[in-house]
């Protein structure tokens, strides 16, 4: 079976105007800067990056919740970025979102039943159909029918995230955008939601765009992963490749910084990056990561590396990635075994 592409994002840009205190000197912040990727049907595509890297803005632009300044987003054969008004409202059935904080994403004045039923208002369906759909979707997310009449404050954090997921599922969407769906939850509860997301994908063949800063979670749930830095993708790779031979020095640093609790497996030290990401307002002329790169070379500050595609479909933006006779490597960082030398 040939993989069928569900979502295509091409050269997406999102700009925000930022004014100085007195309203003069209008400056433009490019929160998302030329992002392109595609997701196959039934896959989970992860975006990781630090806060301010543009991962949430990318998700919101795809959801048409912030305005894309440039670029094209298509879901199947429908171009989301072209839709307006009523057509957009109706199309929303096909792509839904789960937000980070289930304490603020649910209306405290509505009962669980009404929260989940709200998106159905977009559909011309009889109330009887809706009622049956509601019960089914409550069961799918592991809630009991009698809980439908409770208010959000009567649920725990994990249960609230189940309600948020039920609200996303109720319109039978093809794509669900999950923005940090477990980071606001207690550790013991995270596993419940992650396993639920997996089970639902298995049962309903839904596609996820999964935004997270937790690399362990991303490794657990995602098939493909994009690493973002300062509004740009610096590396995109299938799971197995990314975690066995990360090619971009930023990916390598990010992976090395994650502490591991499995005794004996943490064979690496953290590469401590200097300083903080530069401001989005004055982007460096060369590679955006050059200032903090542990293996920076003079030419990195001169010209920005293109996001090049390699033979296995992964893409990376670093001058020093070479592909020879079927093997790829970063000639400066080597592979995982070099982490401790760089740390």
């Amino acid at each position: 079976m040939i993989d069928q592409v569900l979502l295509t994002v091409q050269d997406l840009e999102v700009e925000f105007a930022s004014k100085s205190a007195l309203g003069r000197n209008k400056r433009v912040v490019k929160a998302v800067n030329g992002v392109s990727f595609s997701i196959n049907k039934g896959d989970t595509f992860g975006i990781v990056g630090e806060s301010g890297s543009g991962k949430t803005t990318t998700a919101l632009a795809i959801m048409r919740l912030v305005k894309a300044t440039k670029g094209k987003v298509s879901l199947g054969d429908m171009v989301l970025t072209d839709l307006q008004g009523e057509a957009l409202r109706r199309a929303r059935r096909r792509f839904q979102m789960v937000f980070q904080d289930p304490f603020s994403s649910l209306n405290p004045r509505l009962r669980a039943r009404d929260i989940v039923a709200e998106p159905l208002a977009m559909l011309d369906r009889s109330n009887k159909d809706n009622a049956r759909g509601l019960e089914e979707v409550f069961a799918q997310v592991g809630l009991r029918p009698e809980q439908m009449d409770l208010f959000p404050h009567q649920f725990s954090g994990g249960q609230r995230q189940r309600i948020a997921l039920a609200r996303a599922l109720v319109t039978r969407p093809e794509l669900i955008v999950c923005d940090e769906p477990v980071s606001a939850l207690d550790v013991a509860i995270q596993a419940q939601i992650l396993n639920l997301l997996k089970r639902i994908q298995h049962d309903l063949d839904v596609t996820y765009l999964f935004i997270s800063h937790d690399l362990g979670v991303v490794q657990y749930i995602c098939d493909w992963i994009a690493v973002m830095y300062l509004g740009q993708i610096v590396e995109v790779a299938p799971r197995a490749s990314l975690f066995s031979y990360p090619l971009h020095p930023y990916t390598l640093s990010l992976l090395s910084a994650v502490p591991s609790a499995l005794p004996g497996t943490k064979a690496w030290k953290a590469i401590t990056l200097k300083g903080e990401p530069p401001s989005l307002i004055n982007l460096p002329t060369g590679c955006i990561f050059a200032d903090r790169c542990p293996v920076m070379q003079p030419e990195c500050q001169k010209s920005p590396p293109a996001l090049r595609e390699l033979s296995d479909g992964r893409r990376v933006a670093c001058h020093f990635v070479e592909e020879k006779e079927g093997t790829v490597q970063n000639t400066l960082t080597g592979g995982l075994e070099m982490i401790n030398a760089l740390a």
Partner: protein, 325 residues
Amino acid sequence: MSVLKVNHLCVDYRSRTGHIRLVDDVSFDIQPNKTLAIVGESGCGKSMTALAMMRLLPDGATITKGVITLQGTSLTGLPEAQMRDIRGASMSMIFQEPMTSLNPVFSVGEQIAEVLRLHTDLDKQQVREKVQALIRSVGISDASQRSSAYPHELSGGMRQRIMIAMALACSPKVLIADEPTTAVDVTVQAQIFSLLRDLQARTSTAIILITHDMGVVAEMADDIIVMYAGRVAERGSVETVLSQPAHPYTRGLIDCVPHLQLGSNISLKPVTEIPGVVPALETIGAGCPFVSRCGLSEEKCEAVMPELLEVRPSHQVACWNSQEA
């Protein structure tokens, strides 16, 4: 020689409906230059234990039993005025969210200076120099400029560094860090940990690290206490507890998180859920508080609370199953 000793600490909360025990019979001590991690889910009593040590318990919560001794001085009976001399001087605390624990209307330099003015007799000029030295010591460049910045002008990582600088201003003997990196990115977390390790190596401060992340424990701590429903479920050296967890709750906390694995032969184990949620403290019966979520529970667990007993040298567990095995 331990710098801080906590003996049979109990914290109760008095409400209209009765007493609830938030912290139940917790004991530990900590040596200089060592790091002790206190681990558990929210509501397990780890933050309450920390606040009790600082004598900063919220209204309604009081220490009803037990003794806290800092370098031979008992803190539990100390008048508030003397306690204020200790807080920020020999014992200080870093909180989870640096944005809400810094005062938004004073510059960060001013807030660090306040600690020095309260606890030392440095003059104005000396205070100014010390503030800048502290800001530099937590890895912030252009200290003179940054000291006049306000909290909102700094990034999350920078604010947490300022909190650390403030906590370390008077070289405390004990530093309590309550989830210090929960609100920051992994790269910033790595920076803050390497900073804390450097500072500890220089000053021999004992660190009490409160966290829910076993990865953080493995990275930073020497010893660990796992708390559940206000009680100690398991304690020991980090090496032993993480490699041979004896309490089902500790096992659960380790297995419920997808741990990042690097390399080409990765087998991703499914994460195991700890079913249910932490029970409301007033509903806990006579038995083990973990019984409702435990896969190994037996009749005995329902009826009798297991005591904290040694399973091997310096490794203690409160579980009927592991003690019989």
